[in-house]
Symmetry: C2
Subunit: 376 residues, 2 copies
């Protein structure tokens, strides 16, 4: 399912290829997030234009609305959203943690009130697997418990044990039900927890690897911790994960963070940030982010960035600024497209640099220019 | 500039071709409205996919924001909005009438407070021409006064005289300044007023034709009058307009109204309705409009309409309904695209029917099915 094609001689960066039910994914890869069955503001044709190889769907959101039975009965998520390349779904656990109210975690699962109408609901490892099986994603994530940052070591230990117990129940469900993704089989990734403690990260990784999944994610990152802790979480987990399985850092990160993580051996990334900040007028450029609404761009004839895709580069900063001020939806589309292009190009360039054996040079040169912040 | 290619034997419908600075327009034609330099929610690539031959820009909006000097300095509206096919701009008069506050009409022009920041401004025939020249549209509309419905005959008479005096001033400005549109010349259309009075419509049409413009619009329609009065306004104007000049019914209408007007000899239409109602969940179908948010479509696997363009037809009603309920922008895009496709296909089918000499049959068959309202 996963093959390492090249390794960078001077760091842990690696280039790989994943074969999934709906196609091939070249790694390292950035995965656009389609929370509710749509990558916000974009049409699937544009995702193809961007060269998106795999997108995300959020189990929690799709379970609540329109409901996984509706999607299953309409032929599963690929057909529903008219997207025929791979899809990864998360477990729903993180959204229960970040969006739902009155959460109560027990060994059985998590009780909560949903954020839409306040209904009382319960999500369990088995139900998360069942929902994701109904969605028919290529990769389903195991149901885990994500401890907050900061948290007591005691809490982190208990949470980690719970995550391992839930992982076993997920595994049992998978073996019994053999979920499919289109014409192929659904793959399943375990999630390494353990907060900031190296020994807990190791323990979590070893326990999950013992259960043998198709890939492993580093969870519990991007929850408010300093960047240093984020990098350590990766460094403390990666050595205990098998070389021949893909590694996924969930919900990350800025362009420099993604490059740093690739250098530490991570293969997959997803983040809502590129599309979310786009809707507030922030665009990524090789010289760092810019805010398109600034007066400075009123008569700026240049495209957003010299790296812009032609779909966006045909418009001046002045025009996109005007669209933003005028409240035109095209503004949100153009910056969302641009920012995703920036992230997808970043991982594509990283792949190439790894193949050519000069990843560190590429990384340092990118970060140097990006953080000089010449633009603003 | 305009050539009649075919006439329907049983009514006033005609097929024609207009040569403008930025290309050819086949008539009868529907023109999508790009109020603020963007046809709401759509990218120019999609307008091309729709086969849009000409779009509108609103002088009032673009004058206020970003300002016509900004657009002029950035290379005029075609370049600013990255649209290289023809553009028609209105005079700004109608928006002053419908959006601005504290209007005061004098012989000189209209004083008002704008709807964005309440600034006091004045629009005159000369300024409207100057703004449209800065925008560089292919067709500029003369600055007119649009009487409300209903209005006193006395008011309509005075208003009509003012419109004629303003038309002369516009003509003077045009002759003196010779405005351009890209590599070609800008064309100018007069606007027939006269409210509901046949003799006033005739007077207005004759006075404008004496001044000799490139085309003529029927103005003062779609201002709250019954459909019968709308049709009469056309019937009372068309006989006094030259056969060899295009005729434009401003701001209209429903699909049956457009067909009725084509049958009365109108060549050009524009309306914000297809995109505006799309943003509220209404989609046009051959069986009449449907509201996609209705529960009836929760599991409906069919596309919006059997006539849907592939760009939209790949999605089920169930999916689009889900996107609307979830607040996803893609929903607005898909219905806007669909509705414009419906209107553009309507005028394309009308052109074909006229060429084949069976327009009346086409019109009656379309309206019969459309008004049976089987869908809801």
């Amino acid at each position: 399912m996963f093959e390492v094609l090249a390794r960078d001689p001077s760091c842990n960066a690696r280039r790989g290829r994943m074969e999934l039910a709906h196609g091939t994914v070249e790694t390292p890869i950035f995965m656009p997030v389609g929370t509710q069955g749509s990558v916000k503001t974009l049409h699937p044709d544009e995702l193809e234009l961007l060269g998106s190889q795999i997108i995300l769907g959020n189990t929690y959101h799709l379970w609540l609305r329109p409901g996984h039975e509706v999607i299953r009965d309409l032929g599963a998520l690929h057909k529903f959203a008219s997207w025929d390349r791979p899809i990864l779904t998360d477990s729903g656990g993180f959204q229960v943690w970040s969006l739902a109210k009155l959460r109560k975690i027990t060994d059985e699962g998590v009780r909560f009130q949903n954020h839409i109408d306040g209904s009382r609901m319960m999500l369990t490892p088995e139900l998360s697997m069942e929902i994701q099986a109904s969605l028919g994603s290529d990769i389903a994530m195991l149901f885990d418990e994500c401890p907050p940052y900061p948290c007591e070591r005691k809490y982190a230990e208990k949470s980690l044990d719970l995550t391992t117990r839930w992982a076993k129940r997920c595994k049992d469900w998978i073996e019994k039900n053999q979920p499919r993704s289109g014409e192929g089989i659904q793959r399943h990734f375990g999630i390494v927890q353990g907060s900031i403690w190296a020994d807990l990260r190791e323990k979590s990784a070893r326990e999950l690897v013992n259960l043998d999944f198709d890939g492993y994610a580093i969870g519990g990152v991007s929850v408010g911790e300093p960047e240093e802790e984020m990098m350590k979480a990766v460094e403390h987990s990666v050595p205990f994960l098998p070389e021949d399985k893909p590694r996924y850092a969930m919900g990350l990160g800025t362009p420099p963070q993604i490059l740093e993580m690739i250098g530490r051996g991570v293969d997959m990334f997803d983040c809502v940030m590129p599309t979310r900040v786009a809707r507030h007028g922030q665009a990524f450029t090789l010289d760092g982010p810019i805010h398109i609404k600034n007066l400075a761009y009123e008569r700026d004839e240049r495209p957003i960035c010299e790296s812009s895709h032609p779909h966006v580069a045909r418009f001046s900063r002045a025009y996109i600024r005007h669209l933003f001020r005028a409240g035109e939806i095209l503004a949100l589309r153009l910056l969302s497209f641009h920012n995703l292009h920036f992230f997808l190009r970043l991982t594509a360039n990283a792949r190439q640099a790894i193949s050519e054996g000069n990843f560190l040079e590429f990384k340092e040169s990118f970060i140097r220019r990006y953080t000089q912040a010449k633009s603003e």
